[in-house]
């Protein structure tokens, strides 16, 4: 796993590359959701607020929102998920990324958890 990943309490991960934030869901989250069969992605250019739903992951049985960990503009979506939603299960940290958000200024992710903190958080779930 990438040491630079940061995690939210909603089980998203973020990877900061300058002012671009890549977002996906954690291995724990994909396992909890089960087989993902449909990903509803936002449009490039959408302006999103922190905490707002930006994508929807659907398993056979359930519908789950992915929330924006930061405010900004959607600048990339993982179009491969439209044909292959199972990538979220198979490769949650790599091929299964979901969107990239461009933030104004420097990305503030200091209040997110690093890997060790997230693993400790999961033990309390």
């Amino acid at each position: 796993m990438n040491e630079q990943l940061r995690f939210t309490k909603e089980h998203e991960w973020v990877l900061v590359k300058g002012n671009i934030i890549r977002v996906g869901i954690s291995d724990y989250a994909q396992n909890e959701l089960g087989d993902i069969v449909f990903v509803d992605l936002p449009s490039i250019g959408d302006i999103v607020e922190e905490g707002e739903g930006i994508a929807v992951l659907e398993s056979v049985k359930a519908v789950s929102d992915v929330y924006a960990p930061v405010s900004g503009e959607i600048v990339a979506i993982n179009e491969a998920l439209e044909e292959s939603p199972e990538l979220v299960n198979e490769s949650p940290f790599e091929a299964g990324w979901i969107v990239e958000i461009e933030v104004a200024g420097v990305a503030q992710t200091g209040d997110l958890m690093n890997q060790q903190e997230y693993e400790a958080f999961l033990k309390g779930v």
Partner: protein, 358 residues
């Protein structure tokens, strides 16, 4: 939360357990998609012990059963089974059940979530000379479903099942105990449901897994049970049918015998049939992207609301989203285009005739 005699087995198999109808039940083992496709192509085993089983015996049993159900139990011969709605005075569906005619009794198999309600309803409508027994706590129910279910069941029970027809049952013995084995199921595949005394549950479960290995058997959870029944276009009580829907609207006419002398709800259903009903349960496949879900609105192409989705999923067999829902009868014909409101977007769908699977 109640457990079944197989709860420990499910946990040992790594199942994810959930509460369903007051029972701790497996929702999935290896994953819903894989389990679903295993039942379609090979064979799967299900713990359905949460279902309720009531036995009615005595000289009044037939008349009592026939007062309760819309189908006609008088047509049943020993060893035969029928499916029937159970309706209230106003024709609403209290439950949908299976009725088994045994030599000396009728066995009614009811939905787990309705078992307590059904028990009270049936007990308050017993006619004279009818004895009621709740056998739910003493019986384990294991379903074996899929194209390889016949050879697997034959091997485990050591009998030939080639001549056992759909909706028929036999009472084979196993280790000196009499079991009840029916050719029934809730998946749209060939398959069996086996009722056994609790103390044999673990032995038989392990037998199905061991002898089924060469057939590719897998344990199947409630998640795949739901997607399998939906692909087979079978209604789920609480989703597609309930006390506010009648069996006529739900497309269950062939299980409603309005020429019977009497059953509870017959007057209301005769009137409904004569006057016509405004909505109908239809099945549809999505034309646009998106998965329909219970409660989503159904609109016509002009954007007017005409109904609501009652069940929907991504069909694992078709790899395509499908659903069922009630619509105004004007939109119930095959090939009618409708729209489903999915997260404030409108997605086109098409009403189908018959089953989802060819």
């Amino acid at each position: 939360m109640k457990q079944t005699p197989l709860t420990a087995k499910h946990k040992a198999l790594g199942a994810r357990m959930v509460e369903y109808a007051g029972f701790e039940m497996p929702v999935q083992y290896s994953g819903v998609l894989e389990e679903h496709l295993t039942v379609r192509s090979k064979v799967g085993i299900f713990d359905l012990t949460h279902m309720g089983e009531f036995e009615l015996r005595g000289p009044g049993a037939l008349v009592t059963v026939n007062h309760l159900i819309t189908n006609d139990a008088a047509r049943l011969k020993e060893g035969e089974i029928l499916y029937s709605p159970l309706t209230s005075e106003d024709g609403g569906i209290i439950d949908d059940i299976l009725v088994y005619r045994r030599a000396e009794s009728f066995l009614l198999v009811v939905n787990a979530a309705n078992a307590a309600k059904d028990l009270a309803w049936i007990q308050s409508h017993l006619l004279p000379d009818t004895e009621f027994l709740d056998r739910s706590d003493e019986l384990t129910l294991i379903a074996v479903q899929g194209p390889q279910s016949e050879p697997l069941m034959e091997e485990v029970l050591g009998l030939s099942l080639h001549d056992l027809k759909s909706y028929h049952f036999v009472e084979p013995s196993y280790q000196g105990e009499v079991l009840l084995l029916s050719r029934t199921g809730y998946t749209g595949e060939d398959g069996f449901e086996l009722y056994l005394p609790n103390f044999l549950a673990e032995t038989l479960w392990d037998e199905f897994l061991a002898k089924g290995e060469k057939y590719g058997v897998k344990p199947i959870g409630l998640g795949a049970r739901d997607s399998l029944r939906l692909e087979a276009r079978m209604p789920l009580y609480g989703n597609d049918i309930d006390e506010y829907t009648s069996p006529l609207e739900a497309g269950l006419q062939r299980f409603v015998k309005l020429d019977k002398d009497f059953f509870i709800g017959i007057d209301a259903l005769r009137r409904l049939k004569q006057e016509g009903f405004p909505r109908k349960l239809v099945a549809f496949t999505m034309v646009d992207k998106g998965i329909p879900r219970h409660g989503y609105s159904i609109l016509n192409l002009q954007g007017k609301e005409i109904g609501a989705v009652t069940s929907g999923t991504h069909s694992p067999t078709l790899d395509h989203p499908i659903g069922m829902g009630y619509v105004d009868v004007a939109y119930a014909k095959a090939d009618t285009e409708i729209q489903i409101e999915i997260r404030k977007r409108l997605a086109k769908a098409r009403v189908i005739k018959g089953r989802f699977l060819s």
